[in-house]
Symmetry: D2
Subunit: 386 residues, 4 copies
């Protein structure tokens, strides 16, 4: 007997541009999402975009894309493509996204949305215009889809933390800790936009705004470049033109105060995306290096029995988890992308706006811009444009 | 331009029997293994076996199997099937595996290998005969493929723990903790063989033998059934005929002493498969609820600086990890099955014997049998047959 | 103006015998107890007993004892002595305690109560006779006075764990891990009675009986001596005549099953006295290496919010803590002895029986004896005399 | 035989002023220090100073002071007093300390040294003048004497962390989290000087300067008062005139960047004085709620075996520990004061300058002042005076 693949329903042609780290993990999400989630439209992996023909073809084969293009403009125009997934460096996001939306394609765009506020504004406007025609867009802040962080958001929304007082966020990596590590594009301002700030600082800015449900309204910042020159691939040295770390304080709309730190020099911390929030009724704490755990302090408990509890966010009752395995059978990094794509397909299929929107991405960009301005002006307080 | 799927090399037709929890996770492994690992043969998911036509067809569609069969014998005989993956309850393993091996199909069989030593012996003999003809077999003790545990094995093999003195293993779950939870097939001796002992005790017996590189030579055991009757689906009550927990001590061949505990009544412990080993030079500690971490104590360090270190087993230098994501980007439960299938395909492609073999599975079965005998005889010491 | 020491109330003359590790820590308790606890009688540190004159005098000076004796019989007879605190090795406990009780002195005796059941029985009888005359006795199982463990006992007594199913206890040290470490009296059966079993195994037997509120009714055991000979102080080698480790399973009166392990070879574990109990409604977990923490799982919480919570047992609401510092200001090892002495003085002053009694000490001794019998008889099940 | 107290050597008459929380813990240190440490001079607890006669007398009795005075000036002049220990609120430190030093008494002064930079300068000058006459002074930053933090300092000094890049410090408490908690003197600027900043922020400023061995050279700060009015004891409401929290970034002399946070509103955090330092070769991490642990990452280890290790700082090889108990037998909060007093007596006896000096206390005060200035000026960068 023959079993057809699950394509008896509606399908969606997906094209992805970029096939490095983000391309690999997005491919895994597109390939598997409908095996676990009851999405209203099933993705077809129709084409991969890349610049180098041989490498793009190899990546298409490996990741399971049915065809490939070396010119992203062709890909954006193809009739069999309904959605464009942008996994390229930040300096190319704006042009591709605007073109794709204009061509009537839904867009999923990696973070940070853009390298500048101006580009992000242009993208948010394009997204708003497209949205009026039913064309959807989403920025890929995947950490919103960590079950433990989605649960944290739920707790805040339910009032379990009460009035929020403190937000404490950090994203600590150490891959630049070795001063002998060579130069990369991520350390060039013209390509990367910024350093730790835009790459990982953007994640914690979005995550805190997501979990608190509030915007940051002002910041004071300090950035630093510990290793100002690095060995070039071609020999010789090249200037590092981005920040190695960014530290900032901030205030949320309701008055909560916050501290942020993003760095690639926290030796021993590999991917410690951390968040703690203290409210008047409860607190939560999270570290991505133990991503299946949410720590929750319930201030309503009597002192005798109160304590931070380690919630292993692997129960059916937790966000996204019922699609997967039994309790205690952990999920990993890539699952956050599968959740992201599941939510996006659900929104598209249901005619709803996916979240986070390009407007949310713009809001993050404005915070990053305020951080840079403050750091350039003696840490003076900078209001975040709204 | 057209990109073909990565089938320019050799492929292997895979059929899987059973489509419950284990079927879902095995499917995920077969679907994705060649996207991450450079396996010498690429799996084709040709057929799924199940008893109920409608449910089997639905599962084939969902999991991505190209066809299905409701009679496993037909499936085992199909020419397009090169490997049979057995994900059914333990009482069916022997018959299917022996038939598949006789038909010249490679076999991957879920654990425990069988419900009795006699069946396991028959299977091990069939495997040995098949092996002489180049037909391979493997028992699916997936925990061997947790990177942190594979790293623990490496440390022991390198002598970093020195002479082994203590092994402390536990597998703690709590899904039967509620006495009102209904009866399931897992609590009937005729289907499940045993309770916590065979289901999860088997895992820690295999894991300790794997990491230490030594067989258990004797045990003393205690089993218990906390809730002797449970509510039947059809109304009324049914006797629970298996153990709810099994506690045993043991000795390894070299003289290390061990304690084991398997239970489904450890309220709050969801999938705490734990292992600690203390040697004369070092110690390791592991808990599956934090499966990306191996804790290592290096006894060669001076007292001033010695301490259990948390190795986040997500570095390229760690087993299996270089196929996946950057450091600190965690893997999950399902990855252990992808690793298992990668190793199996590599062995088949390279003409080598995969591990753990059916003989290894038989060895585990003999330990379980000794445990049952000891528990039935006042905890008296039982030698394990070798 | 002159301030007298706080001796306007009733006082109690204390004599302590033995001035090694236990003597130092008991002295600290006697010296400070009334500075923190409102005890009805204030201790006077009147005399220290020891065998060597010079060393005893030095210890008396250092620890703050007003006089010393080199013959414990004299000390037991002194009129200014109301209580005798026995901190000597186990082979001397019986003779001293019986004599002190006969002389009408209250007795605090270090654990294990004795080296044999026969001695312990003799002591328990002497204690019962003395008690009829208002002379009190107590065995120094100090771990009962760890605030976190006293809190665990409270939770069990309040029914927060429901019906108890699993007890998991271990006492892990590593000071004998080095096979080159020299011989000590603790490794000679005639002085120490047993090895890890009596020294640290006794603690976990008492602690589990205390926290559960139930007696152990049967055990099955395995002991081992990893290093059978050690270097003598005088040169040459000497046989180790005690166990290096003891592993046993057991059953409590109500049917809970238990595992125990005591060892001095768990490399990297310094004083890991651990206890976990799983019940039908809740669980607790404790490790002395984090002695200010009790982990509690409340099974009444919904799955979404359930998790082991880390209760930092430093609140006024926790046992013993209100006498000390503000929340989060940790207590240490020695405080358990101050609590012990506070409870003892309170009982004496109030005319009540202190706990644990010599009868409790005897009950532990009978468990240790059953463990030894089982280990000597192929791990066969041994009922514990009651 | 009579055993004299250990006063055959030199003694030092100690007077303490203030008998609240700090008085209790200092008394415990003075009472016991010579029982554990071989100090060259033995303290005599000669007099306690307080304002209320009855309460001072009671405290003297309870804590073990031989006499008391209600006028601190008399106490400072007494011939039997060699050292004055100041445990009063910050607004009185300057006057008492200057008078005591002028009277030729050694001084131990609680932190923060003073409520203003001007007072701290006056005190540091008085200390310098006294020092020329052999009269010693010390400010009581007790956290320097946590064994784990003293070990951290040792690691930095030995170069085990390499070049320092990041300092991350926080002192989190929650005792004001409840908006209904009543007014206290600690929330009045005129008495307390500042709020969380001076009370607990001072500790982390000193601790980071101590462990790094470097001064902070600039800061940018944000302070907040979450609950601006609180219920008075007499009824009605009173304005809170100090900060509830202070967040600041900073730079150390060598270029390391830092973040600091001090708050009494971190619900669930009881005394979480935390410090993490990342260098080019290694990292350390500490949390006072687990005060016996130092976490150390050795960047020289190969990636396969690198990880933060939990050093249980209870070994003889660790600072201060050999005076106490065997490995794994934890120390508590009060021990840091005993260590402080031991170091002070050792310095006095040896004719050396104790540390931290009043000049160190002044340096902390200048940082606090810069923090307040920055917070009052839109978080602008403030250089710290040197």
């Amino acid at each position: 007997m023959t079993g057809a693949d699950t394509e008896n329903g509606k399908t969606l042609g997906v094209a992805m541009i970029g096939h490095a780290f983000m391309g690999a993990v997005h491919s895994q999400a597109w390939r598997n999402v409908h095996r676990f989630f009851d999405v209203p439209v099933t993705p077809r992996m129709v084409a991969l975009g890349g610049r180098d023909e041989r490498r793009t073809k190899e990546a298409a084969d490996r990741f399971g894309w049915a065809s490939f293009e070396t010119d992203w403009r062709k890909l954006v125009e193809r009739d069999d493509v309904d959605l464009v997934d942008i996994c390229t460096p930040g300096d190319t996001h704006c042009e591709i996204a605007v073109a794709a939306l204009a061509a009537g394609k839904h867009v999923l765009c990696e973070k940070p949305l853009a390298n500048t506020v101006a580009e992000a504004e242009q993208m948010a406007e394009a997204a708003a215009r497209a949205d009026a025609r039913g064309v959807r867009s989403m920025v890929a802040f995947n950490y919103r889809r960590v079950p433990a962080l989605a649960l944290a958001r739920r707790f805040v929304a339910e009032g379990r933390l009460g009035e929020l007082r403190h937000v404490r966020a950090a994203y600590l990596q150490d891959w630049l800790s070795d001063a002998e590590a060579p130069m990369t594009w991520r350390l060039r301002k013209e390509q990367a936009g910024s350093g730790a700030l835009g790459d990982i600082g953007a994640h914690i800015v979005d995550a805190t705004q997501f979990v608190t449900g509030e915007p940051l309204v002002g910041v004071s910042a300090l950035t630093n470049t510990f290793v100002p020159k690095r060995r070039s691939a071609g020999g010789g040295e090249e200037d590092v033109t981005v920040d190695d770390c960014a530290l900032f304080t901030g205030r949320f709309a309701s008055g909560a105060v916050a501290s942020f730190e993003a760095t690639r020099y926290a030796l021993g911390r590999k991917n410690a995306m951390r968040l703690e929030i203290n409210g008047s009724r409860g607190s939560i704490s999270f570290d991505f290096e133990s991503m299946n755990e949410l720590w929750f302090y319930d201030g309503d408990e009597p002192a005798e029995r109160a304590g931070f509890r380690r919630i292993l966010a692997t129960e059916d009752a937790h966000p996204y988890v019922s699609a997967w395995w039994p309790p205690g059978h952990l999920l990993g990094y890539e699952h956050t992308f599968t959740h992201e794509v599941a939510d996006l397909l659900t929104a598209i299929g249901g005619g709803e706006r996916p979240s986070p929107s390009f407007a949310d991405g713009l809001r993050v960009q404005r915070v990053l811009s305020a951080v840079e301005n403050s750091a350039a002006n003696g840490s003076r307080w900078e209001a975040v444009d709204s």
